[in-house]
Amino acid sequence: GSGQTSSSSAPKVGLITKTETNPFFVKMKEGAQKAAQENGMELMSAAGKFDGDNASQVTAIENMVAAGVKGILITPSDTKAIVPSIKKARDAGVMVIALDTPTEPQEATDALFATDNLKAGELIGQYAKAAMAGKPAKIATLDLAPGITVGQLRHDGFLKGFGIQEGDPSVVCSQDTRGDQAKGQTAMENCLQKAPDINLVYTINEPAALGAYTALKAKGREKDVLIVSVDGGCTGVKAVQSGQIAATSQQYPLKMAEDGVKAVSEFAKSGKKTSGYTDTGVTLITDKPVQGVEAKDTAFGLDNCWG
Amino acid sequence: MTTPASATPVLQARGLVKKYGHVTALDGADFDLMPGEVLAVIGDNGAGKSSLIKALTGALQPDAGEILLDGSPVRFRSPIDARRHGIETVYQDLAVAASLDIATNMFLGRELRKPGILGSVFRLLDKKRMREESARHMADLKIGLRSLTQPVESLSGGQRQGVAVARAVAWATHVVVMDEPTAALGVKESGQVLDMIKRVRDGGTPVVLISHNMPHVFEIADRVHIQRLGRRVAQIKPGDHDMAEVVAIMTGALQVSEGKAVVADQDAAEAIGLS
């Protein structure tokens, strides 16, 4: 049935994100769309129903291979579980590039364009350590959800940067938020009820951070608690600028997607596959820099933010 | 056909047809209810009695045929339409809401509100008055109940039937239709319902009564509509025929022509002891 003319004859590239609603992935799709247009390609997109939804991503890969894509860009929801399906796609001659999150093993895809989430966590951990300036820390961590790799990496990175182990007594409250602002607020409220003297809050992303800020503000504690986060969305950077969040690690989804589409376009034209790991970078954004941790200010952050 | 030509029928139907898939429930049924009479509708199970009165009271839309009220054609799109014309019905399948109490059921769709601003603006129900009036109506029917705040689902079958009957009688102004109202009632309660029917008739409101109980029918009916295979096969006066003859007509053994019964099915007639 390839003789059908109704669909365009332009080479196709597929983009599969974790969810279809997170601004991070929406930005990624925008970047891919723009790059696809520039390179004369047709973009197909699909997404899981929730963070961690492997089955929908498998289905999307199958359908895209059936639709005859040249390459697939994927942010794997489950870094291990997706590997067999990626292998099938590659066996069918499709180039597969992981975006944002590496598969396990990383070689399962042809290439990886990503931010190091562990490093992102580490940066804010280091920042927090320095900013606390030796004050005894009482930490709340507002995490993602059980078993989601990104959340785990950022959390681990933060602890590492802060120089403590999992289970350290200075972490007095840990709660899952699914990266949701309302749930972040509820979690912070309950943490404060439990340990009113919390003075440092790590959050999985900026919506959760803003939820935490709202909860702190209701208690009049917003001035003396340090909130650090990861993501670098425009709303988040603005919150850094206005002082609600102390610092955030900024990532670059647009760039990942643009580079990915270009690589597929190149492959479609020349048959040459990209390979290896391309770090699309992570930058600490804060207006209150500390000694020994490299950072850019919010002006830079706003120029480069997404969402 | 023996329709009395004396007056305009209160409720009348011509050629009603209703099909359910391949089952024909009504097959060109006619119907006439005269002013101030008790009309019994009898017939075998499945003869289409319930379907007929459902069609007459808006609970069912006939596929064909017309209905006339006081001589003028009407169309009842729903039971509310019929009710607006003062036609009240006790359906065979007990139109009571199981989890609500007796008083609420009595007043369902016509609730009383408190007087004054509480009722008009705040729409507050006058539960006390509704309970008292229900108690009065139930007492009229002498249906014994231990509590009016019990949900209807905890009543015995007969008590539940009593609630439905009391409800219809309380509200009817034009016609009362009852589909086997005494089927589940005890002797005493049946007697009360029959008395109530007489009282309604004596008040000038005609009553349609579906019943399988021939003694009841002969005791109370002014005329009898005999339904068979989805059609009216005869209209008789109880005085003109005895019970065995009526049963024979119902089962098709006899046929009525010009007001006299003639044998239609020799075997069937013999089988029931007529010849």
Partner: protein, 323 residues
């Protein structure tokens, strides 16, 4: 004829809310004994704030479940309503009150469409609202462009303001939620409309034969529910201070949980809206209490699961004893 009225103590034991209430009290006692921070005014104020959004959604859900329906789209409708209110007020430049009115209207309209689909084409409510969930979810994300709306005018978040009761700060939103419960308890229990809703849930056929306009009533119930979801949207905005396109994604099941924990039958016709409040509080108390006890998230999920079953089991067993 002797008309016996149930005595008050008897009614208290036999009311369907007795079981859930017992479960709630037990849970409170348990957490009170196990964590020092639980039995404080501010903590209770907090719990009410945390359950007010789902609780308000659950009011609409209760109405619909009483008619033997179910609504899977309520969280999505609330999210859309929230985006409409905030976007119109912030980027649309509409006066905040108008923006709120528009949001409430949009939510009611979605409820209306649900109701029309259920009555006009006789579709099962489960399917209608499942389809609507997807449609509204997509519309929310398309309309919002995935952007969280910030910088709201103060009027939109006024319900988040607090007033003092003794030592405790209570938000106006909490108060509004309680008032809504009282209002709907009144409407269901003491008006003809409420009785008709129960009759409809018992049996649509019986209700129809009794002369209730079942279609109109059903459409009305879904529309009122939609309006209530709009109010929930306003409560959510006032609580978080933003318009969030990601909001409400698990609120459909959460609100159903609150309704069922409150003793309302999923088969319609039986239940009380006050039970729903109790049900919502049970969930809120569990979550808050477990958090205060420092139980890790995944174990909280485990325990919540067990407790949800236990709460309803206590209810069932107590009723059985009363038989």
């Amino acid at each position: 004829m002797a008309v016996m009225e149930a005595t008050l103590p008897r009614r208290l034991i036999t009311t369907p809310v007795a079981g859930p209430l017992a479960a709630l009290v037990l849970a409170c006692l348990f957490f009170g004994l196990n964590t020092g921070q639980f039995f404080t005014g501010p903590n209770f104020s907090l719990i009410i704030q945390q359950v007010m959004v789902v609780g308000t959604l659950a009011i609409g859900q209760t109405l619909i479940i009483l008619t033997a329906g179910i609504d899977l789209s309520n969280g999505a409708i609330m999210a859309f309503g929230g985006i409409v209110m905030t976007k119109l007020a912030v980027t649309g430049g509409l006066p905040p009150l108008l923006a709120i009115a528009a949001g409430l209207a949009v939510c009611s309209a979605f409820g209306l469409v649900n109701g029309l689909l259920v009555t006009r084409i006789s579709l099962p409510p489960f399917i209608v609202t499942l389809g609507m969930l997807n449609v509204v979810f997509a519309l929310t994300h398309i309309y919002s462009g995935e952007q969280t709306v910030t910088g709201l005018p103060p009027l939109l978040t006024v319900l988040g303001q607090t007033f003092q009761v003794g030592q405790t700060n209570v938000t106006y939103g909490s108060l509004l939620t309680i008032l809504l419960f009282v209002l709907f308890a009144y409407m269901l229990g003491s008006t003809a409309w409420g009785k008709h809703v129960y009759a409809l849930g018992n049996s649509p056929e019986v209700a129809r034969l009794t002369g209730i306009r079942t279609r109109r009533l059903t459409v009305g119930v879904y529309t009122v529910a939609g309006l209530v979801y709009g109010i929930a949207a306003l409560l959510l905005i006032s609580r978080t201070g933003v318009g969030d396109p990601q909001a409400g994604q698990t609120d459909n099941l959460d609100s159903i949980t609150a309704v069922v924990l409150g003793g309302t039958s999923l088969f319609g016709g039986r239940g009380l809206v006050i039970g729903t409040l109790v049900g919502a509080l049970i969930v809120g108390v569990f979550r808050n209490g477990l958090q205060l006890m420092g139980v890790p998230s995944i174990y909280q999920t485990l325990i919540t699961g067990v407790l949800v079953i236990l709460a309803v089991a206590v209810d069932q067993l107590s009723r059985r004893r009363n038989r």
